[in-house]
């Protein structure tokens, strides 16, 4: 071929390419991501952006410093401390703290109570972590911060939704004709309103490091660092979806839910990790990443290969975090997960944790500034980023046993302890806060070992009665580790957001409402989840979520039937009937109080609350099915799940704890008091809308 011919061929090919690029209709897909979409932000772009931001921040630091000096934005001379440390131990129960202190098991907490203060800490209505930690942050009641439960409801569809975040996915952007770009970057909104106290401190030049405080996703910008916690999704867009891979495909329904097949391939047993939804938007289609498992002849280990990495898995031990890339064209989304080989014979069973957003290359913002999570991961190695890290669902469904659940919980706890102590060392002045979840999750899952009357089955041979007492001792050691790092004049606050109680019996509030005639089903229609099958034109009240009962109000709900005047009478009637409700098993009272939220809440968002909140007696909770709007045949049932302890009872029965290394003169303390107390310690004016009192 001569030069002339070659040039003509190149020109011809170029024209063909140009023609097909311009005139052949096709989809130009560029979006990759879960549910609401992760887009190209998950690629190397974000890494480069992170570096650039870091450089810009460093170069602007002298200017910022000079600006703060000039504007007087720094810790006031009148401040009563230079540093406040808040150690949140979710769900620490005061009666157990008292018991273990008296038994000499909690020397550090005992010392804090003797040299400072120890009190019950009043919690929110209802006593749920998202509600209570939101009041901690903002210093206001739920009516002013808009978080009343894990769930809220859509007034037009009567469907539940997550209460803390709202994700909007814009429609695919169309150019013209069939040409479209499927790039869709989700817009995630935080629905917790008002403002956290660290934002107010930041406006006065006081820096805060805020680590894993519930209801901080998506992270808000302020003068400080924040790492998001509860309700941060996994890479699939769920609250944490585990998967079990198995060769026992003939015995289990492997096409449904969280169980997937392991199939013999050329390189060993092959499985596909399920990643974010496919960018094409096709329902049920996900990006995947293949892994292989090769059992070794010792029948105790196997080789796992994922991407370029091969590791040895031991039966019943968790792997380190492993990186997984989900590729689409030239883009990729990064995640991390842990494997646990549950069984090698007769079948191979492999547990895979929910696929977490990679903190080094976060596909969605999980920290502010965005490079904060990268910084932590570079400092201490990869770490879990999911909101609810401990896989309670996996344990309830027997994908994990008690010991594996405990191992997973303490792996998370160790990561967080390292993270917190590192950041504490870096916080020379200002505020450093971290919330630990192990105390809550362990009590949820192991309460049945302490409660001899609990109907849930126990596992043999694990000495699990020791788990809760040992957890309290571990938390006390953590308090000791923090205490060692304090300087003179530092203020240390150790607190829990609520206490704990047993959860033996379930109450299906929707079934009760049907029996009492307040909730009506359509004739001849089988009821389904999320109140499907309800005749809204004849219904007066319904329950969704853990916390409350909603009236079907005219002018508020789409098919409302209850007027403003009727509502008052109806609330009184339901309250009276519920308070006299008795469990036929043992003829016991099960409802301690019913709260009318129009009296209990104040604030701009009070109208979003359920109309009534049921304060159960300890031992009772709303049933698993009732939370999701499923009607059961009976109102009462035994709780047979491993999740055997809970705190969704009357808030008066489950206060949290408060330890401070200074004397508190007030006789009582409430979770809304913490925010104004910290502001006042730094001599920052407490905004008039805050409801709590200054404790110190």
């Amino acid at each position: 071929m001569n030069r002339h011919t070659s040039a003509r061929l190149r020109s011809f090919l170029f024209l063909c390419t140009l023609f097909s690029a311009l005139f052949v209709p096709q989809d130009a897909l560029a979006y990759v991501g879960p549910g609401a979409g992760f887009a190209f932000i998950g690629s190397g772009f974000v890494f480069i952006l992170t570096l650039l931001l870091a450089l810009v921040t460093i170069s602007f630091w002298p200017l910022q410093w000079a600006w703060r000096k000039a504007t007087g934005k720094r810790i006031s001379k009148n401040a009563r401390t230079r540093r406040v440390v808040v150690l949140g131990l979710d769900g620490l129960e005061p009666s157990l703290v008292d018991k273990f202190i008296s038994e000499g098991k909690l020397p550090n907490l005992k010392s804090l109570s003797e040299n400072g203060s120890y009190k019950r800490l009043g919690t929110t209505l209802p006593a749920l972590s998202p509600v209570a930690w939101s009041s901690f942050q903002t210093g206001v009641n739920p009516g002013a911060h808009n978080i009343f439960d894990f769930l809220t409801r859509d007034k037009r569809l009567y469907l539940p939704n997550l209460s803390s975040t709202d994700t909007e996915l814009p429609p695919p952007f169309k150019l013209f004709g069939r040409w479209k770009i499927a790039f869709r970057r989700p817009k995630v909104r935080l629905l917790r309103k008002s403002q956290p106290f660290w934002k107010i401190l930041g406006k006065h030049g006081i820096f805060s490091n805020v680590i894993r405080v519930p209801i901080s996703y998506p992270p808000e910008k302020f003068f400080g660092n924040v790492l998001s916690a509860m309700c941060t999704p996994d890479l699939r867009g769920t609250q944490g979806e585990f998967t079990v891979y198995t060769t026992a495909s003939e015995n289990r329904n492997v096409d449904e839910g969280e169980i997937k097949p392991l199939k013999q391939g050329a390189a060993g047993l092959e499985g596909d990790l399920i990643g974010p939804p496919h960018p094409s938007g096709e329902a049920g289609k996900h990006l995947t990443a293949r892994f292989t498992v090769k059992p070794n002849s010792d029948n105790a280990t196997a080789l796992l290969t994922l991407g370029d990495t091969t590791v040895t898995l031991k039966v019943n031990e968790f792997s380190e975090w492993m990186n997984v890339d989900f590729r689409f064209g030239r883009s990729k989304i990064s995640g991390i997960c842990r494997f646990c080989l549950r069984e090698l014979s007769p079948d191979v069973n492999l547990y895979v944790s929910p696929i977490n957003i990679d903190p080094v290359k976060p596909a969605l913002p999980i920290s502010s500034p965005v490079y904060f999570s990268t910084y932590i991961a570079k400092k201490q190695g990869s770490f879990g980023t999911l909101g609810l890290m401990e896989d309670t669902w996996g344990r309830n469904e027997l994908a994990l046993d008690d010991q594996r659940f405990l191992d997973q919980t303490y792996l998370t706890h160790s990561e967080r302890e390292e993270m917190f102590l590192n950041m504490l060392d870096k916080t020379r002045e200002g505020v450093c806060i971290c919330v630990f979840d192990a105390s809550d999750r362990i009590q949820h899952m192991f309460w049945r070992y302490m409660d001899k009357e609990h109907p849930s089955p126990l596992e043999d041979g694990g000495n699990f009665e020791r788990v809760i007492p040992e957890m309290y001792e571990k938390m006390d050691e953590l308090v000791g580790n923090v205490h060692k790092r304090l300087n003179d004049g530092d203020v240390l606050i150790v607190m829990s957001d609520h206490g704990f109680a047993s959860f033996r019996r379930c109450i299906n509030i929707n079934t009760w409402l049907i029996k009492e005639g307040y909730l009506v089903l359509k004739d001849g229609v089988e009821p389904g989840p999320y109140l499907q099958g309800v005749d809204w034109t004849r219904t007066k009240a319904f329950a969704l979520g853990l916390a409350g009962i909603y009236l079907n109000r005219t002018g508020r709900e789409a098919s409302g039937t209850v007027s403003e005047q009727e509502a008052v009478k109806l609330k009184a009637e339901i309250t009276s009937k519920l308070k006299s409700l008795r469990d036929p098993q043992g003829d016991r009272a099960c409802v301690r109080e019913v709260y009318d939220t129009s009296r209990a809440y104040r604030g701009l968002y009070a109208e979003e609350a359920p109309d009534l909140i049921v304060g159960y007696e300890p031992g009772y909770r709303v049933s698993w099915d009732s939370v999701k709007g499923v009607i059961e045949p009976e109102v009462f049932s035994d709780n047979l799940k491993a999740w055997s302890g809970d705190h969704h009872v009357d808030p008066e029965c489950v206060p949290g704890v408060l330890f401070i290394n200074r004397k508190v003169e007030h006789s009582s303390a409430h979770i809304v008091d913490i925010a104004p107390t910290i502001l006042d310690l730094f001599s920052v004016p407490v905004p008039p809308y805050m409801e709590g009192k200054v404790l110190l």
Binding site: L159, T238, G240, P354, E390, W393, L604, K628
Partner: protein, 71 residues
Amino acid sequence: MFGPKIKIRPALMEKLKQAAEIVGCSSVNEYAEKVLESESAKVLASSGKSAISKEALQDITHKLKGLGYLE
């Protein structure tokens, strides 16, 4: 930067600022959004119940998966 904008008289803006501060909103934006959302929700509610699509049910089931208090 390129999102929808609404023009508001300066005098009304001042009132919104004051109200937002009193009720403890983080910004005037939060307050204005809440007020507009409440009013539009009332109007929409009176227009009747929307049909629930299969996709809406799947979407909510997917989002809530793994929330320990529900599973």
